[in-house]
């Protein structure tokens, strides 16, 4: 027991280290000073209301939302195909194909970004929100697969077989039996992909055309000291949004595992 206490204290200190920047964010967002430093001087909500008056920011939010929604849908579709194939079938070349699809998980993002840039410019495609979507789908798909794999893995195959025996064709079996059972996994995958895409900077930085995404906009503002307090306010909103989305995603992921009768094995990865 004594040994456990030591580890517990260490783990809690570690969590504090992990959360330190996130705790500081709202402090500076509500601080009545143009300088981001201690000591704090007073309470204000001015930085939040200032956000309402920046048209460039609103454009960036819109671009980012379009990209994130499209990315999450496409990545989840591609992830569903791959996760289903990987958990249900054996086929030649399975390990190398899956390994290659999962590669963006470890590949430095700058490599993905420059390689796509070279090809897109090489074949003369104008950079736009669409080119960012192409890149984001590539990096979100492995996360979608990881989530959906666990949803499919815990799926009881005899349920599908029962539907087939009762005369449904493959298509109907999928929509009537499989799909409802993996629905929580799909929602979780949509939310995670959305969160990753909304937050992704490097690929967007290289592949965005004239319309910056939200992180690219933030990056451009970090150079101006006077803009920083409102960026802190923006960051506070973003962090609150991400945490909410993640909590919903986690709720659905757990529900999915329960629904298909599997056992809880751990976090998102």
């Amino acid at each position: 027991m004594k040994e456990g206490t030591g580890f517990r204290i260490y783990a809690i200190i570690y969590l504090v280290f992990l959360y330190a920047p996130i705790f500081l964010l709202p402090l500076f967002a509500f601080n009545d000073s143009t300088i981001i430093a201690f000591p704090l001087s007073g309470f204000t909500t001015n930085w939040f209301s200032e956000l309402m008056t920046i048209p460039a920011l609103h454009g960036a939010v819109q671009t980012s939302l379009i990209i994130a929604v499209s990315t999450s849908i496409l990545a989840t579709c591609l992830g569903t195909f791959a996760a289903r194939a990987a958990t249900r079938y054996d086929f030649p070349g399975k390990a190398p194909i899956m390994g290659f699809i999962m590669l963006p998980l470890v590949l430095p993002e700058i490599i993905v970004a420059v390689s796509l840039l070279v090809v897109l410019l090489g074949i003369g495609i104008q950079l736009s929100a669409w080119t960012v979507i192409l890149g984001h789908v590539l990096i979100c798909t492995p996360f979608a697969i990881a989530i959906l794999n666990s949803a499919f893995q815990s799926l009881d195959r005899s349920l599908e077989e029962a539907a087939r025996d009762l005369g449904e064709n493959r298509w109907a079996t999928f929509w009537l039996v499989t799909f409802p059972l993996i629905m929580p996994g799909i929602i979780s995958s949509l939310l995670i992909s959305f969160t990753i895409s909304l937050d992704e900077f490097i690929i967007a930085f290289f592949l965005t055309g004239t319309d910056p995404t939200l992180p690219v906009y933030i990056w451009s503002q970090l150079r101006f000291p006077t803009k920083l307090p409102s960026i802190m306010a923006l960051g506070t909103i973003l962090v609150a949004l991400s945490i909410t989305l993640l909590m919903i995603a986690e709720y659905f992921r757990r529900k999915g595992i329960q629904r298909t009768g599997g056992k809880e094995t751990g976090g998102f990865l």
Partner: protein, 295 residues
């Protein structure tokens, strides 16, 4: 007729079903990952004209990437930073993974994992920027140390250099290190550890001879999953690294977006990948040998 039935049988087979099902995702990865990576390799041996790329194969870009003092220095620094970050992250993460796996009640494990992963998913740019605030001249660290009277003047060695890059990256990649180690620890058969202790091993020895070797696959995964992406990190060195903390991604970005020298940028990107792959393979090889000896 015969060929058609055989084809039909193939289409209904398990292998075909799997291949058909995976083909959209596989084609997507082929078109948007394999082809672009191939293109980088091609570009890396072309010549840069001022406004266009000249189709004259050459190794000049690689000679410059490896020969130029500046690039070599940046490459070594990137490797050094990545290796240090990996070491620090994995060492600090192991006890946390161990705690969650061995000392947390099963129904609370996923809550812990969720708490550990949340910071990883939230605004990367702003998180890195906040480290600049924490480590800065008037930052959190300096003002608190000054108020406590531990130091007389602000510390300057913690921002705009390699230290700052290491601290910030170690923070950013922490969950990446914890999760694979946790998964490996979870797979360890608990009675095995009890057996080791029943046979007279002390707790520490049981850990050293049973738990640690059995969790090595997770440690290896953690090392690779931290080491490979960190070498290509752009935001952290750019924001907190200062001139002496610049890494390979910053140089690649400079070549592509500022100097418009795609061939040299591609050669630098390809070299970085090559070096990372080589180091990872050597690491895997050493690890396999090390583990075989122990078994």
């Amino acid at each position: 007729m015969d060929a058609r039935t055989r084809w039909g049988r193939f289409l209904r087979s398990e292998a075909a079903s799997g291949l058909i099902l995976i083909s959209p995702t596989a084609f997507y990865a082929l078109l948007l990952l394999a082809v672009p990576l191939g293109a980088i390799l091609v570009y890396s041996v072309l010549t840069d004209g001022y406004l266009e790329i000249i189709w004259a194969p050459t190794f000049a870009n690689y000679i410059e990437a490896f020969g130029d003092e500046l690039y070599r220095q940046v490459m070594f620094r990137s490797l050094f930073v990545s290796a240090t970050v990996t070491l620090v992250t994995v060492l600090l993460a192991y006890p946390v993974a161990y705690y969650v796996s061995f000392h947390v009640a099963p129904q609370r494990k996923s809550l812990w994992l969720f708490l550990i992963t949340i910071p990883f998913w939230t605004s990367y740019l702003i998180r890195v920027f906040l480290w600049k605030v924490i480590l800065g001249f008037n930052g959190v660290v300096n003002t608190s140390l000054l108020t406590l009277g531990i130091i007389d003047e602000p510390l300057t060695f913690i921002l705009y250099n390699v230290n700052a890059v290491v601290i910030t990256l170690a923070h950013a990649y922490a969950p990446f290190a914890i999760l694979p180690i946790f998964v490996a620890l979870e797979k360890i058969d608990r009675p095995l550890l009890e057996a080791a202790q029943d046979l007279g091993e002390s707790k520490l020895l049981a850990f050293w001879r049973v738990t640690l070797p059995l969790s090595m696959p997770g440690v290896v995964a953690a090392v690779l999953i931290v080491f490979i992406p960190t070498i290509g990190d752009y935001v952290t060195p750019q924001l907190v690294g200062g001139p002496e903390g610049r890494m390979i991604a910053n140089v690649i970005q400079l070549q592509y977006l500022r100097l418009d020298n795609y061939p040299l940028g591609s050669a630098l990107a390809a070299s970085a990948m090559l070096i990372v792959t080589a180091v990872s393979l050597v690491f895997l090889y050493l690890n396999r040998r090390f583990l075989r000896v122990r078994q």
